[in-house]
Symmetry: D2
Subunit: 262 residues, 4 copies
């Protein structure tokens, strides 16, 4: 085939390449085994792990690492459940000690009702973590001003929410996501809010570099099949973005010219 | 894997099985060669051909069949440019004589401005064609009452428009598409209106059995890549439908339980 | 004020002028008295009445006309519950005998699940009624082809549904409503589907000549206040349509020029 | 009428009552006279004025106050064009000296491309202004976390943007606006993004206490008529919110019971 249809470049975050632009989570699955099968079906290279909740090291209990091998996948420790910068730093230091992980996902939450990030504290925590040598992917609001600040503070990826965590409402504000993408020099990855395959495709069509999701897969009736759906949705949205969609038209435009036929 | 994640059943139309749930067209491509490459990238088994416009038989001119082999793909002759039932019947008789094709797509148009079907004439033409032994897939409005009538008249697939032909506006009325699907005993295939990958996924998530599109691929900046996007979008939407999406929630629902952490 | 801000022309249907572009119904109210108060709050001049259900003439039972005086309001008899043209004609003959009403609203339904009109039968019934001298406002699907047919058959107003009757989903397909309006020479009145005030405004902003609604008012928690909301919504949407809205822009455009300030 | 339909309470901001829930601006009008006529048509009590741009005091030039009398309307000085807290404070001190105004609207912008507020600086400026005794209404992002912070810092009204200033795109993220409203103890007024009447109605239906707009009126083809449309739209949305809308239904629900008729 020709140049224009060659393969897409990989997703590069903090100098590391990933074949898949989908990142999945480890919450809400019935078992670690189901989680492992969903991961496989999703085609993701990267999986995010709530350090404060997931058993990474106690061998007397079922451990995630017995089902998903950190040699095969990039583990992305996250700070779910942290409400201050200090909490987040402490949590990620533990993760680094436990598994050597320094590519991390920061989330500093505010109110449990909406689980939105506290952006002032998130920015402060980003600065703290960057200073300690972490590569920080940052869960954030869809405020383009803060997205730029995070990048300036050294975030290696900007991860705006599409909708409240676990809501499945789809991307609420494509205008903001687009503004963030247009200004970003690091990858933009929608994190939170995807409910079904078309939501993921929409995000990629906006020009996002990737999508992170958890509930949409884990709480589908058939999580394994939904993981497969999401693999295809992210590829579909990415290819549609790269292909350049047709313009929308107010009226019909015949596939088969009508001239001479009418 | 387990039963719940086994492969999807094929699309069956008029007793014939198709691996792909995507059908593409032959209008607006720059060349037959580009059309052929898009078809290959799309993974479609079926391609619809405007009998009155596409050169099927004159060997002195470039012929579609020199690029796309009717032995490898199901050709679906259509009646683009027909405005009466008699026109449509005459056109499809020619197609049957030329290629032996009796699985056909009927469209009986009204006003060139919107290219909507004339439903009364479409129903009459369906009856005429069924009587002549054709297997008739029918382009129609999204009116659930007429969709049912077409089925009762013997249509082997109902093909409601999602938006005006060539508009790329996406599915305008999911309520009607859903009503048609809930009542149909034959496959429902959205025909017309898809503009990008997520539009196709949305259609499949509603429960459609397939999608037919032309302009969204042919008028993308890179038609071959868009064809690939659409292949994945249809799979993604189908799998998401089969997987059963998570419910939407008004508020956040943490992936990682906050109990004990706050 | 100047010419451009002069009062809107009245709605004219079948040669009669109406000050209000809102038409309300008589179903689902708790009492005829509540219905009467909602009518007053709505500012409507016209009220539609299901001839087969509403007591118009039996003086031993509560009668609508004891609460709403046909001398003050235009009664618009409708054929709710009719499934054939003959049914509809018979019903409206009764109405004409009872009250002398010859401006009528035709609805010929199909399936109780969606209460969509049977368009073939609706067209036939329109022709029958026009022949008998009725002025026929016609509830119809949003199919632009049939809308034109109804006009050609003599309908004095085209009344496309915005969504299923009683669903409150809002106008599902603005593309179709717009196509109908662009082609119509008689008033286009959205009938069915409005759920709240903004839905009515959206309809008027599309260029509709009026809105008919019942459930949105009758099933609001406070029907009288909702009737008032709808009065304002229809005026708002009409004025916005006449005023000509600003274009949408992808980026910000400062109200206060930034030049010299930054 | 009964208690349930009594008049709405007035909008109260910083202890002052306003009959209208619409606030309009002073940018982009062709003349001060047109601005004055739009104000009158809009029914607004409050008008916001960019202190750095509008001539309030130089008697050798046309002055806004010669067309709109500060005794008849509440002037709301704003800090359009300010990019730091210090700028904003300086600007509003001038306004206080010029007209005695201490009810003010703060906006601290970031990037001219989207004119989004810089929320960290906005919060700091709010604190500075509150300390100086101003009553501060604050233009802000739709981030519920910052909205709460502003309230805690003493803002007398929270004014989240619906979409970029001057874009006319309508409210992009109703989820966030709703979250802000549910948590707020001071009025929430959507500021920026409204393009037409239904957009304003949608904002009020979400439960906003008011709407501020400028471009939607000033850049309509007929600003005076659009001002009137907005007056009605805000009333319509408010009444619909107070009335309590009907629930949405997936299927039809007949206005006229079909029992006994079919």
């Amino acid at each position: 085939m020709t140049a224009q249809t060659q393969d897409d470049a990989p997703l590069v975050v903090a100098g590391r390449s990933f074949n898949s632009r989908l990142i999945i989570g480890t919450g809400k699955y019935k078992t670690y085994e189901q989680n492992a099968r969903a991961l496989e079906a999703s085609g993701a290279d990267m999986i995010t792990v709530a350090v404060r909740r997931v058993n990474l090291s106690d061998p007397s209990q079922p451990r995630l690492v017995d089902f998903i091998d950190p040699k095969d996948y990039t583990f992305l420790p996250n700070t779910a459940g942290c409400f201050t910068g200090e909490d987040a730093v402490r949590t990620l230091r533990l993760a680094r000690e436990a598994g050597g992980w320094d590519l991390v996902k920061l989330e500093v939450l505010s109110d449990p009702k909406h689980l939105y990030p506290d952006m002032a504290e998130t920015l402060r925590a980003t600065e703290m973590l960057v200073k300690e040598g972490f590569e920080v992917m940052v869960y954030c609001s869809d405020d383009p001003v803060y997205a730029k600040r995070l990048e300036e503070a050294g975030a290696c990826a900007i991860m705006p929410l599409g909708a409240p965590i676990g809501s499945g409402l789809g991307i609420q504000n494509p205008v903001n996501i687009r503004l963030i993408i247009e200004d970003a020099k690091v990858p933009v990855i929608v994190d939170a809010g995807v409910g079904t395959a078309s939501d993921a495709a929409v995000g990629m069509e906006l020009g996002c570099d990737g999508i992170l999701m958890n509930t949409a897969i884990a709480e589908a009736k058939d999580p394994i099949r939904m993981a497969k759906a999401m693999k295809h949705a992210v590829i579909a949205g990415r290819d549609a973005y790269l292909a350049g969609r047709m313009p929308k038209k107010r009226y019909a435009d015949p596939s088969s010219p009508l001239a001479g036929l009418i």
